[in-house]
């Protein structure tokens, strides 16, 4: 039998006579309507899944891309380098601070000496005043002879007063030096704690977190690889799903065939005897044949639906695995209260806080050191003035001694007083020299300290705070990358969950299997009933031959034939052509019959 013979259904409907039946005509019409509606509904069900397929596949592809992006993110590479760099610099910073601290301690010692020296001046001033008084007494005793010395008494008192004032000023300045020195030392201590103790610990912690994150990335890589395989499985499952959906097309065509035959049967009704309710002869056999078609379609449809459901479940399972794997990557606890990324963020925050504190302490220390140098400079002025007064005193004492010498014996007492002034002036000179040396030393320390404060803690001039700024920027970048990864993983998890939920809900909504089975059972029942009624009105001799022929045909006629065509055509398309097809005269699509569709 030729393939075309097996497919041309119109030739099979043999007009036979049957007894009229209104009820059966109505039933047949109802069956046709039901089957039409069934085809429409199942088509909608499959179309609904088909419509979602591309969306599902796109989502899986996006999840895959996002996971790969996470695995390949250059997360914290720059930060890692900056952190390591900062850790190295912390040792240098500690050394720089140690030297600075020692300098300030020395300066505090110098200020102590300075104050003691200045206090020594106060005694000198008192002696000067006594000498002034004695000079005034001696001058008065000499009467007119000592007139020249009255100026000496006034000058000594005046200069003593000036020295007193300058010393008081210098002492006040010296007193004001102590608080900034101590403040600077405290700031150094803060910096010491922050930069050289806390910060390295924080940096080490962050480096450890970064290392842990790399582990996460490694796992993300592995997950990504596994996802690759998983994605392959999902894609295969999707392909199977598409095949299952295409397969439904065959059953749809089977049902269409049945509808077509039933329509023809319905249209043939009444043509023989003019009664619209009478069916042609052979109706029973035709209906039995179509019922068999429907049974076969139902079997194929069930297999197709089961396959769709199975594939959807499989995809949902894979997607859930992917989502769970992503959730594990983020380290987010089930209660959502913690995440691997939280300690990373806290480390970044602590480093930035420490850097902020350090910057504030640095700024305060810079200002303190600058003030210190200025204060020391200010102290130079009264000491220089003391030096000038001391010079004046020595000159004045020298003149007094000359005058006393001219007075002879009367002037001996005044000579003693003048030489005492001279000695005191020399003592003043010595003290002043000591002050100058001390101030010079302090000034040098303060200047060095000020210059150091204006530099990068590592000691690179012109790169103020460069290392810390670099670290701050790197840590901010690290935090930005951390929040990005956190958000990305959250997104991957959310996408996976949504997709899995969508798949499960699609699977639940896919109820066409039951619908189809129920409709086919109903239709077959009706067809059986109509066939039975029709059969009871036939002449046995006429029917036997036809029924036998139809039974033979029924055994051959199933839509499996169409499936064979479909598969063969597919093989043709891929270059594998069965021999029987090559020899068939009906090798083109048009000759396969009207009921064959290529898809």
């Amino acid at each position: 039998m030729q393939l075309t013979d097996r497919l041309r259904i119109r030739d099979v409907v043999i007009p036979l006579r049957a007894r009229p039946s209104d009820a059966s005509a109505q039933s047949l019409g109802q069956v046709i309507a039901d089957l039409d509606s069934l085809n429409h509904d199942t088509e909608q069900g499959f179309l609904s899944i088909g419509g979602k397929l591309s969306q599902f596949m796109q989502t899986v592809s996006v999840i895959s891309s996002e996971l790969a992006a996470l695995a390949n993110a250059e997360h914290g590479q720059q930060a890692s380098q900056a952190l390591t760099h900062a850790l190295d610099r912390a040792t240098e910073i500690r050394a720089a601070h140690g030297s600075s601290d020692r300098g300030l301690a020395g300066m505090r010692h110098e200020v102590g000496l300075l104050k003691r020296t200045l206090s020594g001046f106060q005694e000198t001033v008192s002696t000067f005043r006594t000498l002034g008084l004695l000079t005034r007494i001696e001058t008065a005793r000499l009467g007119s002879t000592g007139t020249d010395f009255s100026d000496l008494a006034d000058d000594v008192s005046l200069l003593a007063g000036q020295v007193h004032a300058k010393v008081a000023s210098a002492l006040s300045i010296a007193d004001s030096l102590i608080p900034p020195i101590e403040s600077a030392m405290r700031e150094i201590s803060t910096l010491e704690a922050g930069q050289t103790k806390d910060l390295p610990a924080l940096i080490s912690g962050t480096l450890a977190s970064l290392s842990s994150f790399r582990d996460v990335q490694d796992r993300a890589h592995e997950s990504s690889d596994r996802l690759g395989a998983q994605y392959g499985n999902i894609s295969d499952a999707f392909k199977k799903l598409i095949v299952s959906i295409q397969f439904h097309d065959i059953t749809r065509q089977q049902v269409e065939h049945v509808i077509e035959v039933l329509r023809r049967l319905n249209s043939e009704s009444g043509k023989v005897d003019g009664n619209p309710s009478s069916h042609p002869r052979g109706t029973s056999a035709v209906l039995a044949l179509q019922s068999a078609q429907l049974a076969d379609a139902e079997k194929k449809f069930r297999a197709s639906v089961e396959s769709v459901e199975h594939n959807l479940e499989g995809i949902a399972m894979h997607v859930l695995e992917m989502a769970n794997e992503s959730r594990a990557l983020s380290g987010v606890r089930e209660d959502g209260k913690g995440s691997f990324f939280l300690p990373m963020e806290q480390d970044c925050g602590a480093i930035l806080r420490s850097l902020g504190d350090t910057a504030n302490a640095e700024s305060a220390m810079r200002s303190t050191r600058k003030g210190l140098a200025e204060t020391i400079d200010r102290m130079n002025s009264p000491i220089q003035e003391i030096l000038q007064i001391e010079t004046k005193m020595r000159m004045m004492a020298l003149n007094a001694r000359i005058s006393a010498f001219h007075l002879g014996a009367d002037g001996s007492a005044l000579d003693v007083l003048a030489s005492s002034v001279q000695e005191l002036a020399s003592e003043c000179r010595e003290r002043s020299d000591l002050l100058v040396v001390s101030l010079g030393s302090m000034s040098e320390t303060a200047t060095r300290s000020r210059d150091e404060a204006g530099q990068d803690p590592g000691g690179v001039p012109g790169n103020e705070g460069g290392c810390m700024d670099e670290l701050s920027i790197a840590v901010k970048d690290l935090h930005s990358a951390t929040e990005q990864s956190f958000a990305l993983i959250s997104q991957i998890v959310a996408r996976g969950d949504c997709l899995a939920e969508d798949l499960v809900s699609t699977r639940k909504e896919f109820s066409v299997g039951t619908l189809f089975a129920e409709a086919v059972t109903r239709a077959r029942g009706s067809m059986q009933e109509i066939g039975d009624k029709s059969q009871s009105g036939l002449l046995s001799d006429e029917s036997e031959e036809s029924e036998s022929g139809l039974a033979d045909f029924m055994s051959l006629y199933t839509m499996q034939a169409e499936l064979d065509v479909h598969e063969s055509v597919t093989r043709v398309a891929t270059g594998s052509v069965p021999a029987e097809w090559n020899s068939s005269p009906s090798g083109n699509a048009e000759e396969l019959g009207d009921n064959v569709e290529f898809f």
Binding site: E66, E345, L352, H479, T482, E483, A487, S490, C498
Partner: protein, 350 residues
């Protein structure tokens, strides 16, 4: 390929508390969190922190004030605990804001986790419970009127509407059925309604409870069994039915024997069903003697069987409990829920 960001926090009607202003504010909250997520995804969370924290502060001021006002208006029983949670979030948001103002910016992940936690545990659970209460409260007067008029259909329509809105089983039981029955009891005691009306209300309530059963049976089963009954002579069975339904709702298989169960029959059933717990309900004080007899006989036959006792008769009675480690008195459905949860924990440990 451009990767479209996903709405991490999607407000769906299931989060609705059915109070339009509150729902609107919750949706704003969801939107704010999605904005934070989007900014974080671009690594620019810090840029919107200032605005977001300002919004959060405004939210905690206005939204919480609105909720608290409404809670006071409807006399919400869990108001204090709810306000405590508001205070907690206000404090935590203030702390984060103060840190931000001090210059701390590495706080986006912490903020996101804080807000998600709030969303998960407060808005979805606690606010939803409040929303359910408001819905039930708004329907209470109409329900009670229908109940006292014996209007089964009227009551049924209200309950069906509430079920369709997704009102929880517990809310319906506590704040509709139980509250209405307590009110009915009060009216009967004041002689404002007849005993016939009170009985009618009882039968209607039992019918209404059966409307929730499809929901109860959908919950996953734990494999545990409870037998729930009223002691011999006790005819008030609504409370016992609530206990039985609660067991079912929480995944237990409950066998409800109804009113006036004789001890011998109960013992036979216990031997047959081998439950994990027996619950005895007593509403009238005069039945406490029967209750004691039932407990004694039950423990004689089933020495290790836990017995839970509840009902109006035990509101101020717990003398037996001190002497019997297998007997506990429960005074509310919350206590029953807690007991079941404890049992679950014990089982998971063992």
């Amino acid at each position: 390929m451009s990767i479209a960001p996903v709405e991490l926090f999607e407000w769906t009607p299931e989060f609705a508390v059915h109070v339009p202003d509150i729902d609107q504010e919750h949706q704003n909250w969801f939107r704010a969190m999605n904005r934070l997520h989007e900014a974080m995804l671009a690594g620019r969370g810090v840029e919107i922190l200032g605005t977001l924290l300002a919004e959060l502060t405004k939210f905690t001021m206005n939204h919480f004030a609105n909720e608290e006002k409404l809670m006071a208006t409807v006399h919400y029983p869990e108001m204090l605990a709810h306000i405590q949670q508001h205070e907690d979030l206000r404090r935590r948001v203030s702390e984060v804001e103060a840190r931000f103002e001090r210059g701390e910016t590495a706080i986006t992940i912490e903020l996101m986790l804080l807000l998600s936690d709030w969303l998960r545990n407060h808005e979805i659970v606690i606010d939803r419970r409040f929303g359910d209460y408001v819905q039930v409260d708004r329907s209470f007067a109409a329900y009670l009127e229908s109940l006292l008029h014996g209007d089964l259909r009227g009551c049924g329509l209200i309950v069906q509407r509430l079920l369709a809105e997704g009102i929880s089983f517990k809310e319906l039981y506590l704040n509709l059925f139980q509250r209405a029955m307590y009110r009915t009891g009060e009216l009967w005691m004041k002689n404002e309604i007849s005993v016939a009306i009170e009985h009618l209300a009882t039968t209607i309530t039992l019918s209404m409870m059966s409307l929730t059963h499809p929901t109860l049976f959908n919950t996953p089963r734990s494999g545990k069994k409870a037998v729930v009954t009223c002691v011999g002579g006790e005819l008030h069975q609504v409370g016992a039915q609530m206990i039985s339904d609660t067991f079912d709702f929480l995944g237990w298989d409950s066998f409800f024997l109804g009113a006036n169960t004789p001890v011998d029959g109960l013992l036979e059933l216990l031997a047959d069903k081998q439950p994990d717990v027996l619950c005895l309900s007593v509403s009238i004080n005069s039945h406490i003697r029967r209750f004691k007899e039932t407990v004694k006989k039950t423990h004689a036959h089933f020495p290790g069987l836990d017995i839970l006792a509840g009902g109006q008769a035990f509101l101020h009675y717990s003398a037996e409990a001190n002497r019997n480690p297998h007997l506990q008195f429960l005074h509310s459905l919350d206590e029953l829920e807690a007991w079941i949860a404890t049992r679950k924990t014990t089982d998971s440990r063992s």
